[in-house]
């Protein structure tokens, strides 16, 4: 199976669903070879990078022969190399032909390169490392740096504690300078059971979640969690509250559901192309 990415690759929703909806977490995933083709890709967002990473990790774990065809565009290729995508994929046996591509260590926009983690202690260490890096570089407004670190930590904690992901989880934090302004992007993704199945562990919720997008709506509400404990389920609710302010945005994509929260969009959830696990994306303008 070859999945071809478009020139501007923003998320899994940009992919032909006849291929991308095949779930590498399932026993029924029968493809022996998986190839993700980024050759025509000139612009790729961290949400799309996470999809490539999780999909290939899962397929590789299933025993498939996996290959990433790197972008022909050198700038895009150098960026992907610099954030650590190619090395992470190679570490699990994915074939990546990145001959002649060198990472730019001077890239000050990468706050936290693609990092794999699985335990909450690692999340705390990454959150502290992030704040240290932001303070040392003086990136963004001083009062926003702890918010970036906290938002990342909360999203990453959810992945570490609730995802039951056999491959762990991945985090990436980047500072973007665009014509619309400067912003921090925090992305966390896992290849786990998804928000719906996580919430269904709570017997009180089991019959209330017919779809992934309903699960995402519930998960952002106050004190809703798979544990059923009355003081739990505030972390994601808190991030959602924080992201309803001044140009910020939160996107959650789990299974075939996607949810967006921002200053303008109180909450919008709908069906989407499969993400085989859960992806969380927070955007914070400086």
């Amino acid at each position: 199976m070859r999945i071809e990415a478009p020139t501007n690759f923003w998320s899994a929703s940009d992919l032909p669903s006849r291929f991308a909806s095949r779930d590498p977490r399932q026993q029924t995933f029968v493809d022996q070879e998986v190839e993700i083709d980024l050759r025509q890709c000139e612009f790729i967002l961290p949400t799309a990078i996470m999809w490539c990473l999780v999909y290939l990790f899962l397929a590789s774990k299933r025993g498939c022969t996996c290959r990433l065809l790197v972008p022909e565009n050198m700038g895009t290729c150098v960026y992907l190399k610099s954030i650590g995508l190619f090395d992470l994929l190679k570490s699990v046996g994915v074939e990546v032909d990145d001959r002649g591509v060198f990472s730019t260590r001077r890239d000050t926009q990468v706050v936290l390169p693609l990092t794999r983690f699985s335990r909450s202690e690692e999340v705390e260490e990454l959150a502290n490392r992030t704040l240290e890096a932001l303070n040392a570089r003086g990136t963004g407004a001083a009062n926003l740096r702890p918010l970036v670190s906290e938002a990342f930590a909360e999203l990453a904690l959810n992945a570490a504690e609730h995802a039951q992901s056999s491959l762990g989880a991945f985090g990436l934090i980047q500072f973007y300078q665009q014509t619309q302004g400067e912003r921090f992007i925090c992305v966390v993704a896992d290849g786990g059971i998804g928000v719906r199945r996580s919430l269904e562990r709570n017997p009180n919720l089991r019959d209330r979640i017919p779809y992934d997008w309903v699960a995402l709506e519930l998960a952002t509400r106050e004190r809703v969690s798979g544990t059923g404990q009355p003081t739990r389920g505030i972390g994601l609710f808190g991030v959602a509250e924080d992201m309803r302010k001044s140009g910020r945005q939160l996107v959650l994509h789990s299974g075939i559901g996607i949810l967006t929260i921002s200053e303008d969009v109180e909450l919008e959830s709908r069906r989407a192309t499969l993400f085989p696990g859960t992806l969380a994306f927070a955007s914070i303008p400086t």
Binding site: E124, S149, E154, L157, G238, D242
Partner: protein
């Protein structure tokens, strides 16, 4: 008054996990309630904190107070918290059936049942 200085114990600027909050258990164990039931959690030098950390902190404090077999109302002060009191932290307090207020100086005061007079920090 019992005071727990988080920076001195943890040496971390961002407090994230429940495991980190559990160091408070040791600090409380080494204290007694003889001087009254005001517990101060000092966040000086801490720049970020998650609801999970605060939730676990309150769970530990409540357990400790339960062990003291005290009938008096009690109070927890969060001195120099890294952020203003926002809805998410108020929700954590509510989940523990505590009232929470923020003083002019930024201290959070969490009270059980009968609220004690607010003391502004200098």
């Amino acid at each position: 008054m019992i005071t727990v200085k988080l920076w001195e114990i943890l040496q971390k600027k961002v407090l994230v996990t429940r495991e980190s909050a559990r160091v408070i258990t040791e600090a409380l164990r080494a204290s007694s309630a003889d001087g009254g039931l005001d517990i101060t959690i000092d966040f000086t030098r801490i720049e970020g904190v998650t609801p999970s950390f605060v939730d676990e902190t309150l769970t530990i404090v409540k357990e400790w107070i339960g062990q003291q077999r005290e009938q008096r109302p009690w109070r927890v002060l969060f001195v120099a918290p890294p952020t203003r009191l926002t809805l998410k932290f108020a929700t954590v307090a509510k989940a523990h059936e505590l009232e929470i207020t923020e003083t002019a100086s930024g201290t959070w005061i969490l009270t059980s049942g009968h609220a004690l007079p607010v003391v502004h920090q200098s």
